[in-house]
């Protein structure tokens, strides 16, 4: 038995029943027959066929127009036209080339096994491509937006270096929290929080590069990247005050390297998109220093984006692991300071 929906369009009762019987005997048991062209739109809407077999009778040019309409109504359906050889074939072939409304033309009389084998093969291909589409959709949800665009433009594994502002968030006291509440509840809260953070980042034109377990890593590029990143960080920090899973935020700017990393040598490559570099480390370290609801960044970045320094608490020069020189840092606790910013009401 073949688990695919077939529609048979044939104005002739005799040939349509002949073909339907034959299809049934070859394991196709979900067949809808349409003999009246005007009933086709309704039938297509109800049936959503995988394949439409269209039996073309000589000199019925109108039915070719119907065939094109059919492709528009049901673009996901595979359309096969069965046509007698000679002039009819030439007409349909020309029509198919001009309109691209027919996927396959088969000559009559149908060679018994060859036609049905071809049909089965086509359905196998169609089902596999449908499965791939479903997987691709799942991947689109799993893979960060930046990774997808990197795949489209940079599939040769070449890393790109560019100026960016990197933002990290990380939940404070997450070990205590996960031990204090049922894991599923924590998981749900975490997912809600990460969704909210991703939404805010997107609103400030940032790209989420990855979820780091208890937080996110995002990158801002282009003109005004640090200004947008800081405004985003302040909104994120403010949001952190109202929720159970409060978190700190770190922001740093500088050169980064982005690309696909992982095992590119073996046949079954396992690669992931990532952004790396000293700037990324610095942003992560600053995030680690930030308390709940706090943003820590460098004085250099704040000077460049011309934020009101009165809002900042000077932390002074700080030794940061992996960096030879001390770095001048500032902290922001935005709960009172940016009341004009949008509030993100949440139940998290």
């Amino acid at each position: 038995m073949i688990n695919s929906k077939l529609m048979l369009v044939d104005k002739d009762d005799y040939t349509s029943s002949l073909l339907a019987t034959n299809l049934y005997q070859h394991g196709f048991n979900d067949i809808k027959t349409v003999t009246d062209g005007s009933a086709l739109p309704k039938a297509i809407a109800e049936c959503r066929p995988d394949v439409v077999i269209f039996n073309y009778h000589f000199d019925e040019f109108d039915s070719l127009i119907l065939c094109s309409a059919l492709k528009q109504m049901s673009p996901q359906s595979l359309i096969i036209a069965i046509v007698s050889p000679g002039p009819a074939f030439k007409t349909v072939d020309l029509w198919a080339k001009q309109t691209k409304s027919i996927d396959l033309i088969v000559e009559k009389p149908l060679s018994d096994e060859r036609f049905f084998m071809t049909l089965k093969d086509l359905l196998k291909v169609k089902n596999s491509s449908r499965a791939l589409e479903t997987k691709a959709q799942l991947l689109v949800n799993l893979v960060p937006e930046a990774a997808l665009s990197a795949l489209e433009t940079n599939f040769n594994n070449e890393a790109k270096m560019f100026e960016a502002t990197v933002l990290f968030t990380d939940i404070r006291r997450s070990t205590e929290l996960i031990r204090a509440m049922p894991p599923r509840e924590y998981f749900q809260l975490l997912n809600d929080l990460l969704s909210l953070q991703a939404k805010i980042i997107k609103q400030f034109e940032g790209s989420v590069i990855k979820y780091t377990g208890d937080g996110v890593m995002a990158v801002f590029k282009g003109m005004g990247k640090s200004y947008l990143a800081m405004r985003c960080a302040l909104v994120l920090a403010k949001t952190s005050h109202n929720i159970k899973l409060s978190y700190g935020v770190g922001v740093a700017e500088g050169l980064v390297l982005a690309g696909l990393i992982g095992d590119s040598k073996s046949e079954d490559q396992r690669l992931q998109y990532d952004v790396i570099g000293a700037t990324v480390h610095l942003a992560a370290r600053l995030c680690g220093m930030a308390s709940a609801g706090e943003v820590i960044t460098t004085k250099k970045l704040i000077a460049a984006v011309k934020l009101n320094e009165n809002m900042a608490r000077d932390i002074g020069s700080v030794s940061i692991k992996g960096f030879a020189d001390k770095i001048d840092c500032v902290a922001f606790k935005p709960s009172k300071l940016i009341a004009e910013e949008n509030t993100y009401e949440t139940t998290i």
């Binding site: 040939t15 000199d59 007698s84 050889p85 002039p87 009389p109």
Partner: protein, 102 residues
Amino acid sequence: MKQQFNAAQISKVIDQALIYQCACPAQVCKAIFELRELFDYQMNCASDSNNNELVHKTIAAAAEVSHEIMEECLKQILEIEGWDQANFIMPESLKQKVPKLF
């Protein structure tokens, strides 16, 4: 090339005899179309001065003779099977017999 049957008539026979198992007249029709194409192709080749005219005219002549034979064959088998020869409609008795094959 003389033609006893036009394209519409031959196509009508093929249209009614959809499946190979019940399509012996359709196979003859198909051969007729192929012979017509072969003839046209060879005549086209023969008219090209770069080609050996005699080769292509010989093939065309053979195609013409074969076509005449197959058209005569079609006429006879349609008669034997009891087709409506004016409208080229398959006889009911044949239509009823075909589903039993499956």
